[in-house]
């Protein structure tokens, strides 16, 4: 790729690239995001390359490995162009058929299409699949059309047009005005208006200023930023360069978690490509504006997602947050004015510059404009990454896009905002997804993690889980956070082990207040949220644990016992053999009995008992029925009794 010297040059090159591409040429694309990788996309890719070679189609059929499509539950996903036929859960064994039937004969391989579980209807195109139909994939959509390692692909879909527009048709102040007008609120969790932050950094005194991409996505269960960085790194780069121009910064950093090796790789490639083409470096596109980017890896600390902690980490120190004020906009990296935004926030910028603030504000609610990418995971049928307009209801996301709860189980709560967020129960499912609406019900938008929970989830356990996470991830510097979390975790652990006592809930609330009010940073200040929201909506579960020593969801190990129902046990011996501590007594026609003294509550017997028998039961809050006498344990098989 050669250096591009002006906007006209850029458009010329773009036309050139497009003219060399034949829209009607058959192309097979394969989603190569991390989730599909985990589902085996490498082997599928190898099979595709082999088959194309074998069937003599090299040069006639293109093969493109794209970024994440979002429907991770059904990966690996392959889409055949130009018809845009979408095949799901593609295995290497399917490739030969796809190549012959679809690529050559233009026929559809029915069995690989999406089937609606309710109607049985099949969908040929991605856009017909309910999962996608209800989304608005403005930022995430391009992932499926490009190979993230190819800057030509990015240019082919209009990449860097926004940069050219900003540099040559707008002043930095106009750019900021546009971003302010769009009312783009930070997508990293706090939802602070990005335009205001940019303006503060621009107005701060000083020549040297920094802009930073925060890709330290740490909320467990959220992986939107990862897929954006892996799947369309240039969109983030473009947003960053535009932001740098607006703020007056000439040096940028991209802070990526080291746990995201593919993102690190693809961003590294994108930066090199951008440098080669002249989108980075000196005199970008001939505008006179200079800007360089360095990538910096995280080293495994959730707290470094907090912006001042991130700055400390960039400076080579332990990720301990700094007091604010002063804010990074005035005193940030190396005490210079700095603007830090989340990956998704930066990725929205080219779109806003291209389409304008008015278009952006036409989507969403009064207080929350544009779209949001969520990772819809947990007890939901269609697990994956979804991009929806702000204002859609939680119910629509979970049921229309997510396809509801698997196994016919009952919805219990949806957790948003990770360890800083809260659990939202059924009664609030019709609220609109909006920064302020979510805050009102005790949750937060957060970075986008949306964990669906069902009747088998224990809410006390959920609160304990988040506190255990934070107890390890807190930097530990300040007393209210470190000690507050320590004591709250102790109380919650005791409650989940049947050692809870009267007054524990009140003590949790009191501790929450101090931790929230007096902590140094947002990690501490929001740490009580999962505890407070679960107490608010599921107090009955807490009380059952404390007063009755009962776990209503049958999760807390110390409070449950496993019991084999003698009426339904068929003495098949499966659980007996699988029990790791040989705690099950029985024989071929002898009803099995669990020795409660030996039982370690691992749950293996419960898992392996064939569903048609379903003889293993969980009991909580009541004594285990005594085993039936040995003589009564013989099963008389009806067929044999004849």
């Amino acid at each position: 790729m050669r250096r591009i010297n002006s906007p006209a040059d850029l458009e010329g090159l773009r036309k050139d690239i497009l003219s060399k591409r034949n829209r009607n040429k058959p192309c097979i694309t394969l989603c190569s995001g991390t989730a599909c990788h985990a589902s085996g996309s490498e082997k599928v890719a190898a099979a595709i390359e082999q088959e194309i070679e074998k069937q003599g189609l090299k040069g006639e059929v293109d093969f493109r490995r794209t970024g994440c499509h979002g429907f991770c539950e059904k990966g690996p996903i392959a889409v055949i162009y130009p018809e845009e036929i979408c095949y799901l859960q593609v295995m290497p064994e399917d490739i030969s058929e796809i190549t012959s039937r679809t690529l050559k004969e233009k026929k559809v391989v029915d069995r690989l299409l999406y089937v609606d579980p309710n109607t049985g209807e099949k969908a040929t195109h991605e856009s017909d699949i309910p999962f996608y139909k209800n989304q608005e994939r403005l930022v995430f959509g391009p992932n499926r059309r490009i190979d993230p390692k190819s800057i030509e692909d990015y240019l082919a879909i209009g990449g860097y047009q926004a940069l050219a527009k900003a540099l040559f048709e707008m002043t930095p102040e106009q750019v900021i005005r546009e971003v302010k007008g769009a009312n783009l609120r930070g997508r990293g969790g706090a939802g602070f208006p990005a335009g205001m932050k940019w303006e503060a950094a621009r107005n701060a005194p000083g020549e040297t200023k920094y802009v930073i991409v925060n890709c330290d996505e740490g909320d467990p269960g959220a992986y939107m930023d990862r897929s954006l960085m892996e799947g369309n790194p240039h969109s983030v780069l473009e947003g960053l360069i535009i932001g740098a121009y607006a703020i007056g910064s000439h040096e940028g950093y991209i802070y990526v978690r080291q746990e995201y090796p593919l993102a690190v790789e693809n961003v590294g490639i994108a930066i090199k490509q951008a440098e080669q083409c002249g989108f980075l470096g000196e005199n970008i596109l001939g505008s006179g504006f200079d800007f360089t980017i360095q990538m910096h890896r995280g080293a495994g600390a959730f707290v470094c997602g907090e912006e001042t902690s991130l700055l400390m980490s960039l400076e080579g120190k332990a990720g301990e947050p700094r007091a604010r004020p002063p804010y990074p906009a005035t005193k940030g990296l190396w005490d210079k004015p700095t603007n830090i935004n989340n990956v998704e926030t930066w990725a929205n910028i080219p779109f806003i510059i291209n389409k304008g603030a008015d278009f952006f504000t036409s989507i969403g609610t009064e207080g929350s404009k544009g779209t949001k990418i969520f990772s819809l995971v947990g007890k939901v049928n269609n697990t994956g990454l979804v991009e929806v307009p702000m204002g859609i209801t939680l119910r629509d996301i979970i049921y229309k896009v997510g396809g509801g709860i698997p196994g016919g189980k009952k919805f219990k709560a949806v957790q948003t905002g990770g360890p800083s967020g809260g659990c939202i129960p059924e009664e609030h499912l019709d609220i609109e997804v909006d920064f302020d609406e979510l805050a009102q019900v005790g949750a937060i938008m957060g970075s986008g993690g949306m964990i669906v929970m069902d009747e088998d989830t224990c809410m006390v356990d959920v609160a304990r889980y988040f506190l255990a996470f934070l107890a390890d991830e807190s930097c530990g510097k300040c007393v209210p956070c470190r000690e507050g979390i320590r004591q709250m975790l102790k109380i919650l652990t005791n409650i989940s082990e049947g050692k809870g006592k009267e007054g524990d809930i009140e003590l949790l609330v009191e501790l929450s207040e101090t931790t929230r009010n007096a902590s140094l940073c947002a990690l501490g200040k929001t740490a009580p949220n999962p505890v407070l929201s679960t107490i608010r909506y599921f107090r009955d579960e807490y009380e059952a644990h404390i007063k009755e020593k009962r776990c209503p969801a049958y999760v807390c190990k110390e409070l449950i016992s496993y019991y084999i129902d003698p009426d339904t046990c068929q003495a098949c011996m499966i659980c007996l053999r699988k029990c790791p501590v040989e705690a099950i007594v029985g024989g071929k026609n002898q009803i099995h009995v669990i020795d409660q003294e030996k039982c370690i509550k691992c749950g293996t017997c419960f898992e392996v008992c064939p569903p048609r028998f379903g003889a293993v039961k969980k009991i909580s809050g009541e004594p285990v029925p005594p085993p039936i006498p040995e003589e009564a344990r013989t099963i008389i098989r009806k067929s044999k009794a004849k």
């Binding site: 269960g221 995280g298 980490s313 080579g316 995971v377």
Partner: protein, 179 residues
């Protein structure tokens, strides 16, 4: 309050129990030149401390004290800061890691699908807890928060290979593949 130094004596005592000391396993420190190369690549800048350590960790799979002394000297960083950073950030290991690194995802989605039981099973079978390495230096165990494969949860990654839809009953068979 621990009185002993954060760093195990060079006989590698830190691998779970004191048996390593009895075995007197000499863990060889990384080549000094290699370390110099890594530091020079970052222009000897003290703020690159974390990046330098990440590279050494990745090359050597752990951070021997000798390597850290060298970094302290060459980057002019006081040793207590290195001590803090190598124990603050999870990416660093001050003890040798096993041949196969097991990462069990404990993200929220995997958690609600039963990841803690999977972790327990792994712990029982290998005899180590997260952060430790077994006596034969075969397996190291770590928990991870969200690998981004929530659709396949619970997920376990061993040596880069993803094992999805894990359950306690499946753990033994999966581990058998690694000898």
């Amino acid at each position: 309050m621990k009185a002993r130094s954060a760093f195990p004596p060079s006989y590698g005592e830190g691998a779970g129990t004191g048996i390593m000391a009895r075995k007197k396993v000499r863990t060889v420190a990384m080549d000094g030149d290699k370390i110099d190369q890594i530091i020079d690549k970052h222009q000897g800048d003290a703020s690159s401390l974390i990046q330098v350590l990440l590279e050494i960790q990745s090359e050597n799979r752990w951070l021997p004290k000798e390597a850290l002394d060298k970094v302290s000297e060459k980057l002019h960083v006081p040793f207590n800061r290195i001590q803090h950073i190598t124990t603050f950030y999870k990416a660093f290991s001050l003890v040798p890691r096993g041949r196969y690194e097991i990462h069990v995802c404990m993200g929220t989605a995997c958690h609600v699908r039963g990841a803690p039981r999977v972790l327990e099973k792994v712990q029982d079978l290998i005899g180590i807890t997260p952060g430790e390495t077994d006596l034969d230096l075969k397996f190291s165990l770590e928990t991870v928060n969200c690998l981004g494969c929530c659709a396949l949860g619970p997920v376990m990654v061993i040596d880069g290979e993803y094992h999805g839809k894990m359950a306690p009953a499946k753990v033994e068979d999966v581990l058998k593949n690694y000898d």
